[in-house]
């Protein structure tokens, strides 16, 4: 009997589940808009904190529990806080801009280029890149260089797993991450507040650390665009700007990458950007932070409280000079 072999359809050709499920949200949003326009309430109502988000919310299946050492028991911030208070200059420089403007980003289909000093360079469809790894729920503290903080329940997998798969050469010492550069999808890139595309970097041993995460979700759902969809970097012991968002390229190199904020203001933002209460930003103190939702500021912890796990990466390094 002749059995026809099914053609090999890359997963990206199949209608993305996110978009498929997003239809309902789209229709709901359209209905709300129409009703609002009809009654005039939309203008008065503005964007109230309780309003349903304008982006699709899709659950991620089969999420594993993280080992206790890799997740905090602190109470996470609300979904609303995490998805409406964002620094993502590609969509505007105000905290509320990304959640308002990031609808123009198309996180699917998405390709990630693995490049540089690596045995298996390739262009991956995102879903194929993620498929081999178990996704975990990991609640991390997130400390912004601007002295505010959040507790965020990420969903992701250790960057180390990916690095082991693609096999960097022995000469590779650093990993460089690049955000999408696309003026249509990221309208904030039309102004030159920063040099685009956004670039971040880690030492290879930092990148291999089990806490370093490639996140694809938050609160058990796929990342909203404003949080760095479809895949972003999370390094919980470093200031938030190290967490490169909407990654299109991961490059292995023997030279320390020049990250975007260091390029923008080298006296204020370094390569390491480890959370450190005793090294002030030149213009403000890093000794304390405001946890979003709280009034009194908390003392900031060395390495954002992850010192037991990461301090050994930096023995012998002058953290005042290498800020």
């Amino acid at each position: 009997m002749l059995v026809k072999k099914s053609s090999d359809i890359p997963s990206s050709e199949i209608t993305d589940k996110k978009l498929y499920l997003g239809r309902r949200e789209f229709l709901q949003a359209a209905a709300v808009t129409a009703a609002g326009a009809a009654t005039g309430t939309l203008v008065l109502g503005g964007s109230s904190a309780e309003a349903a988000p304008s982006w699709p919310r899709v659950k991620i299946p089969n999420i594993q529990k993280a080992p206790p050492a890799f997740t905090t028991t602190e109470k996470p911030n609300t979904y609303n806080d995490i998805t409406t208070y964002n620094n993502f200059y590609e969509f505007g420089t105000e905290k509320g801009d990304p959640s308002q403007n990031a609808g123009s980003l198309k996180p699917s289909p998405w390709t990630v280029k693995i490049d540089g000093l690596v045995d298996k360079p390739a262009d991956y469809h995102l879903e194929d890149l993620i498929k081999p790894y178990a996704l975990e729920d990991r609640v991390y503290r997130h400390r912004c260089v601007e002295a505010w903080s959040l507790v965020i329940p990420w969903v992701g997998f250790p960057l180390a797993s990916l690095i082991k798969t693609v096999q960097p050469k022995t000469t590779a010492k650093f990993v460089e991450f690049t955000t999408l550069y696309n003026l249509q999808q990221m309208p904030g890139q039309r102004s030159d507040v920063l040099r685009w595309p956004y670039v971040e970097g880690l030492r290879l041993d930092e990148a291999m650390h089990p806490l370093t995460l490639l996140a694809v979700g938050v609160y058990g759902e796929y990342l909203p665009n404003q949080n760095g969809a479809p895949m972003r970097l999370v390094i919980p012991w470093k200031y938030g700007f190290k967490g490169c968002k909407s990654i299109v390229k991961i490059r292995f190199t023997d030279k320390q990458p020049l990250n975007t904020w260091q390029l923008s203001a080298p006296s204020e933002y370094g390569f390491y950007a480890n959370v450190n209460p005793s090294v002030d930003h030149p213009r403000w103190s890093q000794a304390r932070e405001r946890r979003i939702g709280e009034f009194f500021k908390r003392p900031t912890l060395m390495f954002n409280g992850y010192g037991d796990q990461v301090a050994s990466l930096y023995t012998g390094l002058d953290l005042k000079k290498n800020f």
Partner: protein
Amino acid sequence: MSPDRMVRWAKPVVFAGALLPLAFMIWAGLHGNLTADPLKEVTHETGDWTIRFIVITLAITPVRRLTGWNWLIRFRRMMGLFAFFYGSCHFLIYVIADRFAGLDFPDGIVAWSTGRALLASIWDDIYKRPYITVGFLGFVSMIPLALTSTAGWIRRIGGRNWQRLHRLIYVTAVAGVVHYWWLVKADIRDPAIYAVLVTLLLGYRATFFVKRARLQRQPAQARARA
């Protein structure tokens, strides 16, 4: 309607309008619409409105001279006092949300040590952080202007001296722009707008003063010929 009656009608309307930003902040606060970090948001909003009212106050004289709308001068004090009002809110919110909220309270919140620690914390910040230093300078230089804003004070210190004293607002305006410029991370577009406005408004005055000084220096005869 005579300009005089018009101004009398317009004053309460302008006053109410100048309170709208405050009303909006309170309304947004009650509805949870001040972002996830409302304290930072109201700090920034009150700061924005301070510099906006400073610019409006500084614009009154040039606009009056250029258009001949002399009645504008009767709104200048109100605009200046609103700059001081929003500046005071801005400073007070900074003291509470930035300084007080960052203290340790070894003897509890209501204690002498809390007051001392708060003053020390404010002073340290003013001393250590240049953008706070100039911001504080801008605020402090508004205080004598607000205090001497009444007709009684103009009489007491004399019109000439009063006018000289009130040129302190130039210091406030420049300090305000520098304060804003030094605190942004990368996006200098907003402070740049205020820098341009303040430069134009002060530049207008500078050329006006220079021209007038030249005229006064010329002998009467030359003036008559010209």
